[in-house]
Subunit: 176 residues, 2 copies
Amino acid sequence: MSEEINLIIRQAIPDDAENLLYTLNQIRQETDFLTMDENDVNISIEFQRHQLENIYESENNVLILAFDGEKIIGSISVHANSQHRIKHIGEIGISILKEYWGLGLGSILLEEAIYWAKESGIIRRLELTVQKRNQKAIHLYEKFGFQTETIMQRGAVDEQDNFLDVHLMSLLIDPE
Amino acid sequence: MSEEINLIIRQAIPDDAENLLYTLNQIRQETDFLTMDENDVNISIEFQRHQLENIYESENNVLILAFDGEKIIGSISVHANSQHRIKHIGEIGISILKEYWGLGLGSILLEEAIYWAKESGIIRRLELTVQKRNQKAIHLYEKFGFQTETIMQRGAVDEQDNFLDVHLMSLLIDPE
């Protein structure tokens, strides 16, 4: 990465469907740290578009995209359930193209998501799971105040189907 | 409950859809301990039937029903994801009609689910969440070897929208 990045951060809209799928498929093949891997079935553009519509219209869900020009290079999602008793709990998911790792994009996206959560008026707890071997990510989350609630045994498997420890981390959100 | 129960335990089939919805709606109104409450939208019989088909055909999902004669009086589900990295993690959900509480039905259902998990060859970790105030359920799970991994702050809200502590409990499953 010698060139500069023309960084744009904004919420996803339905028209981002195809572009997003393209990037997600690349990320799935590049990293072993995500729950979704290259063995998982691809979804259709139409289904992705429909999902983006639902997220865009939801009060307690968001998908924020990072672009380099017109290319999607990373994303952060906050997913919350519609059920009343748990609709204040948002689960965070981050993915970034490998080519753009190490540039602070994770921090930028996480800051945006936490800001969105505080503004939402609904989200009062953010949580996420992260493989213990992904120490860089764990340190990033800690930098933003996330605390490890527990390390779950057998929280995932690696590429050779060995069990992995997985951190459950959370951050309480209070409107400012 | 003065009469005897004509107890039948078996896996759910698609034809149970209507009967199951009837019981689940009643349970939702009776208890404050479930994530799903009376405010959540009802689903259609056709959708329920479709879900039961998927569960029945799945290798890492199951729904076991308890009947008193022809009436569904309780259920236990093990829900696992299809994604390769986490397909060995089964989440337990139990619900029982109030009229049938205190009769040991929870133990019977839990024993069936753990047996099914061991036989599945896929499930290697069972987990569940349970409100801290539901001490009877927590003791039941502990009796079967589940351990509290953490108590999650703001894991749910009560009837007055106050935050509740929620236990995350798990049990490792090894084929015998």
